[in-house]
Symmetry: C2
Subunit: 128 residues, 2 copies
DNA sequence: GCGCTATATCAGTTTATACTTATATAAGTC
DNA sequence: GACTTATATAAGTATAAACTGATATAGCGC
């Protein structure tokens, strides 16, 4: 199953969101996700199997519990695929920044007052 | 249809890859993608409809042709969703960078020779 | 060993979607 | 206006996958 197919399911996305916060036992995921989506224990368990088989999650036994953790390798791959499109919106961000900088400069020239403007630099991409 | 479901199909991903390079007429996409995947014109046209309906592509008429262009808005959303996981591999990259820097420093101290380390990523294969 | 808890797997049903062929729409050409 | 080119839509079919209830597996406490 391709990474994007795995992410196509909202239940699996939700599970990954929860695992992004911290490791969770299967039962914990059944309770939260099963509750939110109104699905049974086997349904959640089957989604966990998909996540395991596709490399998105790892399991560790802890007594009778199965503790799941996210494995980001496939997510990195997805991220890399998206990379080819990133230039589109990043160039737009750059343009916006230029625009903001211009406004800033103009306000500065006009009033000579300190300008806050936050203006966080966009994250440096680590291409590939 | 959710963005990730749209990206779940290899044909649609391929179409988006082609549109990332430049705009393309429907017929051009039918020829390339239809050829690569061995599917008919209606099949490709139906995928184009999905891409239109889900906001991944825009169309412009040019005589009888329909010229498609990528719209990155939904891809940005996907990218934002991925953002919550990015910290995982970026911290790993940071650690790797530190490691490289250490090695570099040590080699530098040891031999006083310049280190190239080019390290260009190989081109990504286009297989789905 | 027995019962309890936690989780996975099995078998079967339903539904979504990705195709197919056939046909409709629409713009250019003569 | 008929013909051709370019593309979309329609109708029907096949298949994958997301469920359900039932059951199997396995560790724990007694």
């Amino acid at each position: 199953m391709h990474a994007f197919d795995v992410l196509g399911d909202p239940v699996r996305r939700r599970i990954l969101e929860l695992l992004a916060e911290r490791e969770r036992a299967s039962g914990e995921l059944v309770e939260i996700v099963g509750g939110e989506f109104g699905i049974s224990q086997p349904a959640v368990s089957q989604h966990l199997k998909v996540l395991r088989d596709s490399g998105f999650a790892t399991v560790r036994a802890e007594a009778q519990r199965r503790v799941y953790a996210v494995d980001t390798a496939p997510l990195e791959q997805v991220d890399r695929w998206l990379g080819r499109f990133r230039v589109f919106w990043e160039s737009k961000l750059d343009a916006l920044e230029t625009e903001i900088a211009r406004g800033k400069r103009q306000r500065h020239l006009a009033a000579q007052d300190g300008v806050s403007a936050a203006s966080r630099k966009p994250r440096q991409t680590r291409s590939a």
